[in-house]
Subunit: 403 residues, 2 copies
């Protein structure tokens, strides 16, 4: 992955750390004052003022005309994270679509575009070049709103490590150097993005982060997150942290075996969950054109659609009962295509969980099955993940993003 630019302004580790501390404090508060920041982080007012000045200059913070009385007494000018300047670029490449978004430092999704494409039909370099073209267009729109990317995150539907897709069976990708290909294609289109720091991860992990940071989970910090797409992605969050495993490949719930002698899966195994509950399998079994069509058919009581959804729910329940017995999460969050289909998936799914989870905590009325929030997806998670890095070391991401 591209490394963030070395800072030029200040090499002091302590000041660098304190810049992050002040920026994160303002970010977490939403709106605050220098005095309140000083009280919160335990630095002197002059020290905080100096740090704030630098963050204002670099475009990470803005002042509003308002004043209010902070915790520490005297009224002060309100500080906020900038909603212009440094932003996160999030790119999700999935089997049948690409979504690109730009998220500003306040966490708001500011520009977003989705293109439906069959990414199985083109080679990996072409798909990544298409994604770069969409990203370039989105960045133009963002620039008109005075937002410039500080870093970019790529969400990819497969096993991802070291900036590359090791395998994405549903795309037919093996050992694809995704960050490099995307970065080169974007730089060719928009030379100003040369050197943009890139981070990549599995799309299910990115979607789970979006849910964790922007969703409606409240205090819930240990959960499984499923994303129903062509494949079925999974992510495991334990005490607020992604569980990535020894090689970064954890969470592959779509390849839990639900029927050992079942249909051959693109991963090489048989009877994997996604052969029953993935979008292609589900639409095929229901003879539906797309997810909206499937929901319409099910809503109208069409028997084949209802049977396909019940079967998918049963298989989801069978796989999830195993995952719940292994991981003991507080909840399971269903994302991607599943939130729209929950009325028909959940009865069989909940029954399997109730029958098979040893702890007895997964009764149908326990409220442990939750739809993902409508405003969270993998592209937003990808953008937020890189903004998380920006907040952790703003100086490293300051070049080219100044006011």
């Amino acid at each position: 992955m591209n490394q963030p630019t070395e800072p030029k302004a200040d090499k002091s580790g302590v000041r660098r750390h304190n810049l992050s501390l002040v920026l994160r404090t303002v970010h977490d508060a939403g709106e605050t004052t220098r005095a309140a920041v000083a009280a919160r982080v335990g630095l002197t007012r002059p020290a905080v003022s100096s740090l704030v000045e630098q963050l204002l200059e670099l475009g990470f913070l803005v002042e509003s005309g308002k004043t209010f009385s902070g915790q520490a007494g005297r009224p002060g000018t309100v500080l906020k994270p900038a909603d212009t300047g440094p932003a996160g670029l999030g790119v999700e490449i999935n089997v049948d679509y690409v979504t690109v978004c730009v998220v500003d430092l306040t966490g708001t999704d500011r520009v977003r575009r989705t293109e439906r494409l069959d990414n199985r039909a083109a080679g990996a370099p072409d798909v990544l070049a298409r994604a770069a073209r969409i990203a370039a267009d989105v960045l133009d729109t963002a620039a008109a709103r005075r937002l410039a990317p500080a870093a970019a995150g790529l969400a990819l539907p497969g096993l991802v490590s070291g900036g590359a897709v090791r395998q994405a069976p549903n795309l037919g990708w093996y050992e694809v150097d995704a960050e490099r290909l995307f970065g080169e294609a974007l730089t060719a289109l928009r030379p100003g993005t040369a050197g943009l720091p890139l981070t990549s991860d599995n799309e299910a992990n990115m979607a789970a982060l979006a849910e964790l940071w922007f969703g409606t989970l409240g205090d819930l910090r240990t959960f499984l997150h499923l994303t129903g797409e062509i494949g079925v992605g999974g992510a495991i969050v334990v005490h607020g942290e992604l569980l990535r495993g020894a090689h970064g490949f954890a969470g592959e719930i779509g390849h839990l075996v639900v029927d050992a002698g079942g249909p051959r899966c693109r991963c090489g195994s048989r009877g994997c969950l996604e052969q029953y509950a993935g979008q292609a399998a589900l639409l095929g079994a229901a003879r539906a054109a797309d997810v909206t069509d499937l929901a319409d058919l099910a809503g109208a009581g069409e028997p084949r659609a209802l049977a396909a959804l019940a079967e998918a729910g049963r298989m989801l329940g069978r796989a999830l009962s195993g995952a719940v017995n292994l991981l003991d999460p507080e909840a399971v969050v269903l994302g991607g295509i599943y939130p729209h289909l929950m009325p028909w998936l959940v009865p069989a799914l909940a029954e399997e969980l109730s029958d098979r989870v040893v702890s007895g905590l997964w009764t149908p009325d326990a409220g442990r099955l939750r739809p993902a929030s409508a405003t969270t997806d993998a592209s937003r998670g990808a953008a937020a993940l890189v903004l998380h890095d920006v907040l952790a070391d703003p100086l490293a991401y300051a070049t080219g993003t100044g006011a």
Copy 2:
């Protein structure tokens, strides 16, 4: 659980922390000197000498007559963790046996006793009273070797939280207040153990800790640990830490479904792994009297034994492929009855993993399936777990264990 006794000698948090720091430094070194400890922990020689004096008085450390030249120059008297005095009592209650051991501060297993008992035939209070009787006898032997328990750990075959067994289907236990019942029974037999701090956990977790601390895993820190007993226990270790889940119930790999319509399991589900690969299922299918008999039959090529082991291996592989796809461990450690049976279990098991693990990292020759060490088990893990607590705050465990 019983809380450790409040310290009487010194209430200073800093000194208390430093006592632990010095004790852990000597423990990790095995043998060292005051000067080397001072250099290592960054305290002055006089400060370290004062802390060492207290640890010697309380019986946590001993001096040997030897002197040697430490890292910090001058020869000094050798310090070691005491192999008398404060020790960990480990108690494993399983379905068909109870094992009790005493582990000294050096980590050595000093006294050990196993009794074969059918713990399904008696009620929970009787089983815990029997375990207390065995523990009392073991403590007598330990006392003759000048070892006194500083704390006790209970390893139990089921879902454990808050000192109680929530469920142990193979024992027929539900909501059994195990720590209290065991503690009361032990105190009745040996009044000197009144107030002994108690900790309890699932036996598979305790066995995994024993493997982590005393096994032959080397740098391996992310693994699944299976223990084949009447049930099939599982534990998940990620980067050297047990993954316990939201309620402490993680790791129930024995109840992963390997055949959805298979035989009814005591947990209420059907087709759970332990219906194929648990000891009772395996011996029944092979018509073997015990594990030694089963290995003998298999070694002699008896077809029924070979078929039962191949089927158990296949089902282990099916469940483990799901667990590996979810958790991406570096290795799977097979404990309990499995190490003796690996020659006949592994071929089918490895083939399933090779066919079904998406990452492709689980080829049969990758060496990722390992037998548990012969010297690690849940009772030793239980003793080591409580010693870990002792090392973290020796003053809290000092009462009654002084030299």
